[in-house]
């Protein structure tokens, strides 16, 4: 997993630097000079790092043996970011206040929290959002797709 993750990040960096070089071609001397100098430097450094890593891995342990990570850890990572992405989607759908309440409630409950703790914590967070930020400070929130349709 570690090797694959390493390769993935290196690949993203190389693609980003190459894209930056190609896309800044018609920007004029000022912006292009800066974009090219940073991209070329980045591309060179990332490539040098990649070559060094491959060499050292081949010399020492062999690529196949490197960084085998358990499936549970990968699953846990996907699960965590799944929670965060789900929260973002619900905010887009139902608005901030409702989503935050539902997120805290479900997260605490589904991670072996008692109903009492789950409801207390989620209510406290929701009341802080609604009371302090919404009513007292009068800050604006993302209203959500569904409430907007219902208002129309």
């Amino acid at each position: 997993m570690k090797l694959r993750l390493e390769l993935l990040v290196i690949f993203i960096l190389i693609v980003a630097f190459c894209f930056a070089i190609v896309s800044s071609y018609n920007w004029g001397i000022g912006p292009q000079l800066y974009a090219w100098s940073t991209s070329l430097a980045g591309l060179g450094l990332t490539s040098a790092f990649f070559i060094r890593q491959v060499r050292s891995r081949c010399k020492s342990e062999g690529i196949a043996k490197i960084g085998i990570e358990t499936k549970t850890e990968i699953a846990k990572s996907i699960k965590f970011f799944g929670w965060v992405i789900t929260l973002t989607v619900t905010i887009w759908l139902f608005g901030f206040e409702v989503s935050i309440f539902l997120f805290v409630l479900s997260y605490v409950k589904l991670h072996r929290g008692s109903w009492l703790v789950s409801i207390t914590v989620s209510m406290l967070v929701a009341l802080t959002v609604c009371g302090l930020f919404d009513k007292v400070l009068n800050l604006a929130w993302v209203s959500g797709f569904v409430p907007q349709i219902m208002i129309r």
Partner: protein, 491 residues
């Protein structure tokens, strides 16, 4: 002069003066602790109250906020790895590592003490340079400012730790990310892909919240650990932090001067000051192998630097009417609202008010420090909260902070994208600070590079100031690489 100093202090020592300052301090404490919500937001909210108060004391409300936000913002950076404001991001690296080792109170004690000392040194600088401020600021032209930014970039070598090559590559990636948005001089849109959110460039708050905050919380949730199983309670931990700060007094002084210098340059801000302070501490320490793993100097230097920045930022704001930071824009607006025109006149016609600001900053820093120190023990208990409760609450607070930038879903997308990237880098053991340093420095380098080349051609390289700063940069790089090599051999 002495009369003006007395007028300044007498403006503060009134019931309304002290009351307003204390109200500002309380607001500043709250906003400093809430991740992602900067002091600027607090000032915006308090702005409507400015015309309602006596002009001589009205600014004390603002000063109370500004002086304390940069002290309180270290709290969550140390306790949960999420910075209260972007300027506390550098404190996470060693502060959070200390908290995970059960030294949260020591880290907080050191952070608050170095913050207040930084604030006082910044204020002293303001006091000393009030009369010569114009000449001082005029010494720095765009080429010198460009060289100072490059000097800041030279710290990447040290903050990359053992992964120098990838650290430099990530700094280049940060420089690239910092170019997103409209080019200020030519109006060209760079990698904004027609998305309105990106036309103004990536905002620093969601980037930092993702890269550090979400990544740390992800690590906590995935490994199912608590931040710390024990905390060094009682006065010992706190006082150890205070003693550490005074033991490293010379570092506090140097980091504060870096903060002041960054503050003097308009449009750079406290985030960069903190990173430069951190880099300087790592570069000049004879034993820097523990940096990144819970070295108290990694807490002291950025905190002193970001607090001292405010004293420096007042100079161009008052002397030229050029705001040194986003907060200073609001100060400028407040000056105008109170009928005070910034410029040379402020040092003759309103010298009493200048001293009110100066004394006010020092007194508010001390009062805020005492409040923070009184709360250390209670705050440190956050480290013991079970992960299942802490994780959703912190994510909620981070999202609140991120949404304050533009109330757009794109703020949240940015947090998630950089959260995934930050977690990936953390798992790989690759350094995240170079990326953020490149990102923070990028607009500054781009702007001054463009102006320097346009105005002077290649001759900008021959200016005495540029040569002096260039030589200083080379000397720092040579010295720090020697120290790093020596440390590696010893290890």
């Amino acid at each position: 002069m002495v009369e003006a100093m007395l007028v300044g202090i007498s403006n503060i020592l009134t019931i309304s003066g002290l009351g307003l300052m204390f109200a500002g301090i309380l607001v500043g404490l709250c906003f400093g602790v809430i991740p992602g919500i900067s002091g600027t937001t607090a000032l915006v909210i308090l702005f409507p109250f400015i015309p309602l108060v006596e002009p001589s004391t009205a600014l004390l409300l603002f000063i109370g906020v500004s002086a304390v936000v940069t002290t309180a913002n270290a709290t969550t950076a140390i306790l949960i790895g999420v910075p209260g404001t972007p300027s506390a991001a550098a404190t996470i690296i060693d502060g959070y590592a200390m908290a995970r080792q059960g030294q949260a109170t020591r880290a907080l004690g050191a952070a608050y003490t170095s913050s207040v000392l930084g604030g006082i040194i910044g204020t002293l600088f303001l006091l000393v340079t009030i009369t010569v401020s114009r000449q001082l600021v005029m010494l720095l032209g765009p080429p010198e400012l460009l060289m100072l930014a490059l000097m800041g970039l030279s710290t990447v070598g040290v903050i990359s730790g053992r992964s120098l090559l990838i650290g430099l590559a990530l700094a280049a990636f940060g420089l690239l990310l910092g170019q997103i948005g409209m080019h200020p001089q030519t109006g060209i849109y760079r990698w904004s892909f027609g998305i309105p959110y990106l036309t103004g460039g990536l905002a620093i708050q969601p980037v930092i919240l993702g890269l550090f905050g979400l990544a740390e919380i992800a690590d906590l949730a995935i490994t199912e650990n608590v931040i710390s199983t024990e905390i060094q309670y009682g006065g010992k931990g706190i006082w150890d932090g205070v003693k550490d700060t005074f033991r490293h007094w010379f570092l506090v002084l140097r980091a504060s001067l870096i903060g002041v210098m960054v503050g003097v340059v308009p449009g750079i801000g406290a985030s960069l000051a903190a990173w430069l302070g951190y880099g300087h501490a790592a570069q000049t320490s004879k034993t820097n192998q523990n940096f990144g793993g819970g070295d108290v100097r990694g807490v002291i230097a950025p905190e002193a630097a970001n607090n001292a920045c405010m004293g420096g930022a007042f100079l161009p704001t008052m002397a030229f009417g050029v705001p040194g930071s986003s907060e200073m824009i609001l100060y400028l607006a407040a000056f105008t609202m109170l009928g005070i025109l910034p410029g040379p006149d402020i040092f003759t016609k309103h010298l009493g008010l200048v001293f009110t600001i100066t004394w006010g900053t020092a007194i508010a820093s001390i009062l805020g420090y005492l409040l923070c120190m009184a709360m250390v023990k209670q705050l440190a208990k956050i480290c013991l909260i079970p992960t299942r409760i802490l994780v959703p609450v912190v994510i909620a607070v981070m999202f609140i902070g991120a949404l304050r930038v533009s109330v757009s879903m794109w703020d949240l997308y940015t947090v998630i994208i950089f959260g995934i990237l930050g977690y990936g880098l953390k798992r790989l053991g690759w350094p995240r600070p170079p990326l953020i340093l490149g990102f923070v420095l990028s607009p500054v380098i781009g702007k001054y590079l463009f102006i320097s080349v346009s105005a002077y051609g290649a001759n900008w390289l021959m200016r005495p100031g540029v040569i002096a700063i260039g030589l200083a940069t080379i000397a720092i790089i040579v010295y720090s690489s020697k120290v790093m090599r020596k440390t590696r051999i010893e290890q």
